[in-house]
Subunit: 395 residues, 2 copies
C-alpha cells in the first residue's frame, strides 16, 4: 500500500520533549532544587462539584436497565446542545441546536473539520500559533502561508488584501500569546473572508477568560460571521475538562461553499467517522452550563486570572514588554537582554528553577519571546514570580 | 474555499431513516399493535456493576485536587493499555503497550486510520458490509473494489490472486452476516496481504461473541499477521459501551510500509488530531478487563447468545438458510419465498410487527437477505420469534 507521503514533511514535534529532556538533566545535576512548572497549558484545579455529581449520577444511570443509554446522536444529546444554545444566547448569539456538533475536544475537531475541504486550498495561519493548525494541514498537503505577529501589531495580525487565502485560522484569546482581537479587528477578518469566499476557523478555546466586556467571546458577535466562520470551543479550559474531554464546533446553516451548506458536509463527516461523546461526559458538560456550574467555574477562572495578574505585575515592574494575562491565562513576553527563547529558557530554569515555554516553539515569529501560564497553584505562582523578578533585575 | 468534492459522490445513507419512516407509517395505521425492534445493533443490558463503580470513583477523583487528572497521553493511560496487553496474552497474542491506541470507538478509528494512507490505493471491501468502510473511502476518493459474499462461500469471501488490492477490510465475526473466518481462511488473507504488500484492516468488534475455541478472536493469532494487519476493537458490544464510548486499535511495530513503521505514522496522527479518551471512561474500560468485569460481561454476552439461539432455532425449524447466531449476535438469513430484502421487511413488519434490517442495505450482495439482532430482551425475542415462526409457515 502507499502511505500518505505528506507525513514525511512533518517536523518532529520537539518542543515539549526537548523541554522535558532539559528539565530532566537539570534535576540530575540539581537533585535538591525545587522546580516550578509554568510551561504546559494544563489546568490544575479539580472539576466543579456540580459536574462531578452529574457524572457520578450518569454513571449510575448506565448501570440500571431503565436508565441505560446505548448509541446517542453523533452530534450530541439535545440536552447539551440546548444548554449550549442557552450559553450563546447570553452572548447575544442565536444558534440552532443543529448548528452545534459536540465532540471530545477542540483538538479533534480542528483536525476533523479539514476532511470537508479540498487539499487544493491556501491556508493562512498566524505565527506564532498553536502547532496543530500547521501540522494538520501539512498532513493533507495544503499550501500554508503565515500572517506574522509581532510587537508592532500586538501579535494580532490583520488581513492583507494583496494576499489570497481560502482557509484562515484565528485563535482569540490567542494560544500562545494571550492577545485578544477586538470587534473592529475581527470585523476586518470577517469582511476579508466574505470578499474572498474564504472560511475562518475560529478557535475560541479560551473565551471564558475574557473579562473585558467590549471584547468578543464568539466570532458570531461580528456581523456577517455566520456566513464565513466555523467556531471551535472546548470545555478544557472553561471547566477543567482537559482529562474529561468535551468540546463543540459550530457550523452555521448560513455558511455555504457555492451552494453546498458546510453544515451538511460536516454532519456527514461526523455521522460516518464518529459515534458521539460518552453520555456520562455529556451530562458533566451540561452541568458546566447550569447556573451553579457557571458560578463554580467562574471561581476557578478567577483563581487562574489572579495568578496571571501576579506574573503580569512582575513583568510590568521590570518594564518588560508583554501581552496576555488580562483576558487570557497565558502571558507572552519579550525575553530580557535580547536573549533567544531557548537561552532565556535555560537561564530561567538554571537560575530560578522555573520551567516556561520558549516562544520560538510556536513559530519563527516567536523567537525572542517566552510563554508562561497561570494554571498553577497560588503558592507556586508567587514563589516562581519572586524568582523571575530576581532574575529580571540582573538585566 | 474549495470543498472536498468526493463528498458529492456519497450516497445518502437511507437505510435506517427509511426503516424509521416505514415503522412510523405502520404505527399510524396500526396504533394499537405492538412493535418489536430487532433491527439496530445496539445493546440493551446495563453496564456491569464493576464498570459503574469504577467510573463513579473516577468522577469523584476528578473532583479532588490530589487525584484530579488533566491531559493524559493521547494513546491512552498505561493502566488500560496494560489491561489490554493482559487480555491479548490470554488469546496467546503478545503485544507491547506502545502498539495499542485507545480511542472513543472503532468507528472513529476505522475512519481515522485512513489519514495515514495515500488516496492512491485500491481498497478491497467485502459485500455485504458495515457501510462506514465504503463511505470513509469515498470521502478520500479511493478506488473501491468488492469481494462478493454469498451462500456459496458462506458470506466469507477469500482472496483472489488475480486481483490486486492495497487496503483490505475484514470483519469477523462479520457485521451484518455474523459469519466468522476460521484460521485457515484468515491465513489465506494474511498470505495474500504479505505477497501484495497490502494492509489488512481487521475489525474485531464482535470477537467477544466467539464461543468456538478453534475460531480466531484476533488476527494476530495467524502467523505473519503482525507484518500486515491493523486490528480494531471496541467495548461497545463486548461490554455494552455503545453510549459510554471506548475502543482501541492495534498497530504492530513490525508493520512497515517500505521502511516506514505505520505505528509511528498513526502515533503522529493521534497526537496531532486527538487528545485521548476521558479518564473516567478509561477507568471503566480498565474494569471491563478485570476478572470481575470479564465475568459480569460474559453473563451479558451469554444472555444475548441465548437470544440468538432462539431465533436461529426457529429459522432452522423452517429450513431457512442462515449464517451467524452461533458466534455472533447477528443472524443473517435468506428471505423466504425468494422475496427481496425490502419486501420481506414489509411482510415482517406488516404481519408480525417485527422490525429487522433489509440485507440489501449493506451492499448489493445482500439483496434477498435479512438481518436480525439478538440484542433485545428475552421476552421480546421470544414473542418476535413466535411471530416470525408463524410467518415463515406461510411460505
Amino acid at each position: 500500500m502507499n502511505i500518505n507521503k505528506n507525513y514525511l514533511n512533518l517536523k518532529d514535534s520537539y518542543l515539549f520533549s526537548k523541554i522535558a529532556q532539559k528539565v530532566s538533566e537539570y534535576k540530575t545535576q540539581n537533585p535538591s532544587k525545587e522546580i516550578i512548572r509554568l510551561g504546559i497549558g494544563d489546568v490544575t484545579l479539580p472539576l466543579a462539584p456540580v459536574v462531578v455529581r452529574a457524572m457520578s449520577a450518569a454513571a449510575q444511570e448506565m448501570g440500571r436497565a431503565e436508565t441505560f443509554r446505548g448509541y446517542g446522536e453523533e452530534q450530541g444529546y439535545s440536552f447539551l446542545r440546548q444548554a449550549l444554545c442557552g450559553y450563546y444566547k447570553n452572548k447575544n448569539v442565536l444558534l440552532e441546536e443543529t448548528e452545534i456538533f459536540v465532540s471530545d475536544g477542540a483538538k479533534s475537531d480542528l483536525g476533523n473539520i479539514l476532511d470537508i475541504f479540498d487539499a487544493d486550498n491556501t491556508v493562512l495561519i498566524p505565527d506564532p500559533v498553536y502547532p496543530a493548525y500547521v501540522d494538520t494541514n501539512i498532513m493533507c498537503g495544503r499550501k500554508i502561508i503565515y500572517a506574522a505577529g509581532g510587537v508592532e501589531n500586538n501579535f494580532l495580525p490583520l488581513p492583507d488584501k494583496n494576499i489570497k487565502a481560502d482557509i484562515i485560522y484565528l485563535c482569540s484569546p490567542n494560544n500562545p500569546t494571550g492577545a485578544v482581537y477586538d470587534k473592529a479587528s475581527l470585523k476586518l477578518w470577517v469582511d476579508y473572508a466574505l470578499q474572498n469566499a474564504a472560511v475562518i476557523l475560529f478557535d475560541g478555546a479560551y473565551e471564558a477568560f475574557i473579562r473585558d466586556k467590549d471584547l468578543p467571546t464568539s466570532i458570531y458577535q461580528i456581523e456577517g460571521a455566520k456566513k464565513c466562520a466555523i467556531e471551535f470551543c472546548s470545555l478544557s479550559k472553561t471547566a477543567g475538562f482537559t482529562g474529561t474531554r468535551c468540546g463543540y464546533t459550530i457550523v452555521p446553516h448560513e455558511l455555504l461553499a457555492g451552494d453546498v451548506p458546510l453544515n451538511k458536509f460536516y454532519l456527514r463527516r461526523q455521522t460516518t467517522k464518529f459515534n458521539g461523546v460518552s453520555y456520562i461526559v455529556q451530562r458533566g458538560a451540561e452541568a458546566v452550563f447550569s447556573p451553579e456550574g457557571l458560578a463554580q467555574n467562574k471561581e476557578n477562572i478567577n483563581y487562574y486570572m489572579a495568578n496571571a495578574q501576579i506574573i503580569a505585575a512582575a513583568l510590568g515592574a521590570a518594564d518588560i514588554w508583554f501581552t496576555g494575562g488580562k483576558n487570557s491565562p497565558y502571558i507572552w513576553f519579550k525575553c530580557p537582554g535580547k536573549l533567544s527563547s531557548w537561552d532565556f529558557f535555560d537561564k530561567l530554569l538554571g537560575e530560578a528553577g522555573v520551567v516556561g515555554t520558549p516562544g520560538v516553539g510556536f513559530g519563527a515569529q516567536g523567537e525572542g519571546f517566552f510563554r508562561l501560564t497561570a494554571f498553577g497553584n497560588r503558592e507556586n505562582i508567587i514563589k516562581a514570580t519572586e524568582k523571575l523578578r530576581a532574575l529580571l533585575l540582573k538585566f
